[in-house]
Symmetry: D2
Subunit: 315 residues, 4 copies
């Protein structure tokens, strides 16, 4: 549902090429009746109201924040399980206190997913940032009381398929800017809640997102003040993610080019020279439409349905 947006189309493309899934329907209210090419297949959109929910074992909802909950309920009523790509059921959101929905950051929450009725698929920025921070949080290496600084940049599809004057080509090309400056972005609540759960205590995160003149990809530059005896190289991450096919620990800082069209988080770790406070610099890159949205949604559906976790996903 919501299959005409960027994440929705990416989802349809993955599903139509997935060895264990087939597309029951693709709904897009304003595009009802229209055809669209996803990957190498053509699909026809149905109206949201006409979506045959009972034909689907799993429903992916890629609807705007705030409107997803209703359709998630409708899908649940006919017995479908749901992977919700909106923020509605994520940690920190109002709905999340009323409805149990595990947070689908698959690598970190895998055990909670198989029995779930609803999976709250993570936001794109939180995916890149929490996968990068988890080893330090779990092992208690973040300097207590310190602020973790995150400067991140996203391609324009991160804003969804909204027709906005400020996202017109002539406004974005040759430009770069910060937004939500002042640490007010919606994702901060989501990141803090999960980080606190992982690390056992509150963590301050100062997050400044930027808009890149590229179509897709997120790069997060994360600086973490650490305790004296923390590791200063990538060994901790290699160990933590040793068996994860979708997390890559790189020797060189990753770039968008390394991850676009792939369902991976790729990250590098470096010790900061020339500062007194021991500090790590983690660079984390994802494709916001793959590991940051549609790819991770399918990864979660794979776990939910007992399929091979990597099925249908480009590594």
């Amino acid at each position: 549902m919501g299959a005409s947006g960027y994440a929705g189309r990416e989802l349809c493309g993955i599903i139509t090429q997935h060895p264990g899934l087939s597309l029951a329907f693709a709904s897009a209210n304003e595009q009802r009746g229209q055809r669209a090419r996803v990957g190498s297949t053509e699909i026809t959109y149905v109206a949201t109201e006409d979506a045959p929910l009972n034909k689907a074992e799993v429903v992916f909802t890629a609807l705007p924040h705030g409107t997803a909950a209703k359709w998630v309920g409708n899908a649940r009523n006919v017995g479908a399980r749901v992977v919700d790509l909106s923020a509605d059921f994520r940690p920190g959101a109002a709905e999340s206190s009323r409805t149990r929905a595990p947070y689908g950051l698959t690598e970190l929450m895998r055990s909670q997913i198989p029995g779930a009725e609803i999976v709250a698929n993570p936001g794109c920025y939180p995916t890149a940032i929490l996968i990068a921070l988890a080893p330090l949080l779990v092992e208690g290496r973040v300097l207590p009381g310190a602020t973790i600084n995150v400067s991140a940049a996203s391609g324009v599809t991160g804003a969804g398929y909204s027709v906005r004057p400020d996202l017109q080509f002539a406004e974005v090309v040759e430009d770069f800017k910060a937004y939500a400056v002042g640490n007010e972005h919606r994702h901060i609540l989501e990141m803090r809640a999960v980080a606190a759960e992982l690390g056992g205590s509150e963590v301050d995160i100062l997050f400044t997102p930027h808009l890149l003149p590229v179509a897709r990809g997120i790069l997060a530059t994360i600086t973490v003040p650490i305790t004296e005896h923390s590791p200063d190289d990538a060994e901790l991450w290699r160990r933590f993610y040793a068996n994860e096919p979708f997390v890559e620990i790189a020797d060189q800082p990753p770039s968008l080019r390394d991850v676009v069209r792939r369902n991976v988080v790729r990250l590098s770790v470096a010790k900061a020279a020339n500062v007194r406070q021991p500090t790590l610099i983690i660079i984390s890159a994802i494709d916001n439409l793959m590991k940051g949205a549609a790819g991770q949604a399918v990864q979660n559906a794979n776990v939910l349905l007992g399929l091979t976790e990597q099925a249908g996903l480009p590594a």
Copy 2:
């Protein structure tokens, strides 16, 4: 000298339209004899060896780092004053300990320039960052012992007119990446030295630059832990730069688009919500070829020669 690079061509363009300057010569060794259009004028390059230094009252040297010093000396020998755009005479560089050359961050060092024989024109990143930090440093508002975090991004002309495989169009478009990760960039020394001079004590700066898929422009996102009773809005900056035509304090975070082709630093200041340590977020934008190189060089020449400081410079 070095007039075929990006900064050099920009300089020639400004000089040819400047009401008080005229171009004595433009040297570019490999392009000797070639013509080039700068602004609406055509110039012809002479070989470096053939540059008629004695015809120039002021020589601008836009040569590679390390090779500038020799030609600065040659220009001095025939009595010309020099604005050097290389790093050779900047604070922290070897040459700077042997030769007195005021640091041409004009707004902060204006009084030292008129009598100078050589002006060390600042680097592009330091210009954006030091103008943003100066009010806090001068007024002692930075939390002692804290690390100032700078995540900055530059268009490709920041790397100079070098023909590098990694700067080919197909490699840069739709990409974004960090470089010099680990706080090892040459500009750190320059920034620390000037920051210490402005603030009276050592300051830790953690600086991570990124390469943007745009031709020109730098945006620096700076987070500064501040003392309890520091100002939390832009008032301090408005006061500090009240009479500066080339520093703009904006209500909204500046974007590259606001500054490209203009000789200005444009910056915004915001207080960080949702963190315990009082912290300011300063966004600072410049055109790396204008205020970050050629524009500031002419601004310094204007001061050096007793011309109107704004002469010939697009605000």
Copy 3:
């Protein structure tokens, strides 16, 4: 009027820096009360209804096609002269048969402009193409009965400041496509009418425009079957435009980079090898917002008002 679109803002920028003009008002109905930076000045938009037409000696109307005629009439009623940037008064348009308005392709129609009440400012594509073709048409060198083939490409600002899904950054970047395929573009009528007037007989033009992933600039690639004894080099153009400051005949094919932000047409002429029918290939480049819209509008206003034709215009 219509000062918030791309051409409108460019116009305001030129006017505010023009030595002989000052901006009486800038109207933009939906942006009424908003401020905007044009060049290095800030302006405030007034509602269209509130535009103090009587304060202006010349009114520039940059309104959507079809809605301009009414406001042109209003401006005429209070005695202002008008340079209209819409298609409403151009050759071939309905209004043009009722109202006398010389076609403001300044280089070719200069003598008709001084006494005019209304000048119909040319379309962007016709400007690039007709300036290129005029010498051949006037001198009767086009092969009778032949089709002139024009493949042209424009940056996205050529479509005006319309918020369209297909002009969003993620849709345009890394893409290129033809539109109005089949020789149905509105500009064909305008070009045919003027070409027939210049050459004295009907001319077939087959015109295929394309959308480029750039913000501004038009490049037209024009192939013209010519009579046996036609010139095969640029000499005819050099002679024809010998005294024109805004037409450049180049040895090398021009690129967008050569003309952006300049009020010029830059063109090259080459003879086609390897074909039996003698054919010329003319490449013509303009900035669609300058010589293709706002710049030429000011050029026409300069002529209209008896000012220096080049005043305020970047060559």
Copy 4:
């Protein structure tokens, strides 16, 4: 061989994911010993001299024009069959008169390929243009004596992985230009030779290529004067390519976005209005690295080896 260029890397990516092929080696002389990621696999380059030619059943040579013939000979000497991506064995090239190598425009030359020792893989422009023209040529619909006009534009990878000043990001972004103006491009000979073979007589083609600010993709805008009773819609093409999985006849003009990363030619056909001479406008789009190079090379290898023609190729 030549596996570090754009086409070479694309080839390695296809081969490593091909169900019926495996990569025996990848040679790249200057990158010997270096690792590179192609698709989701890492490969290590060997020196050209060290390429174990005898291990390969088919050798793909993606070497610079002029140097391919020697290595094609070496591969032949150890019994390997060769798909050569250079121009050396294509129609019109010197080598092609000495050595029999069918022209691998698979859809048109399929029957000649199975027994071949060497296949001359077509150029990128000729692929887009000849597939579009073939039905008209074969059925004798092109107006005798007329010139076919082709204005085409290519992304920068069409120039190969050459480190050239004019292909640096800052030179290409926001620019667009024609090159090889005057109908002198190397591909003209190749196109004329094949067109004459398809149509049975000489054909004049006037070809003007342009450089696009995109990484990959070619769009050709082709205008063809036709005989009176020719078809004026796409029916002829639909019939001609009825069973071709890699040729798409579209109702709307194709854009680069429709074909990038796919091994297809996508084209549309329209009749020109407003001209006396009946003329068709064909828009043809390909990915220059896929159907224009590596994809078609694998398509040819599939035919050569008796594999399913579509094996391993994204449609």
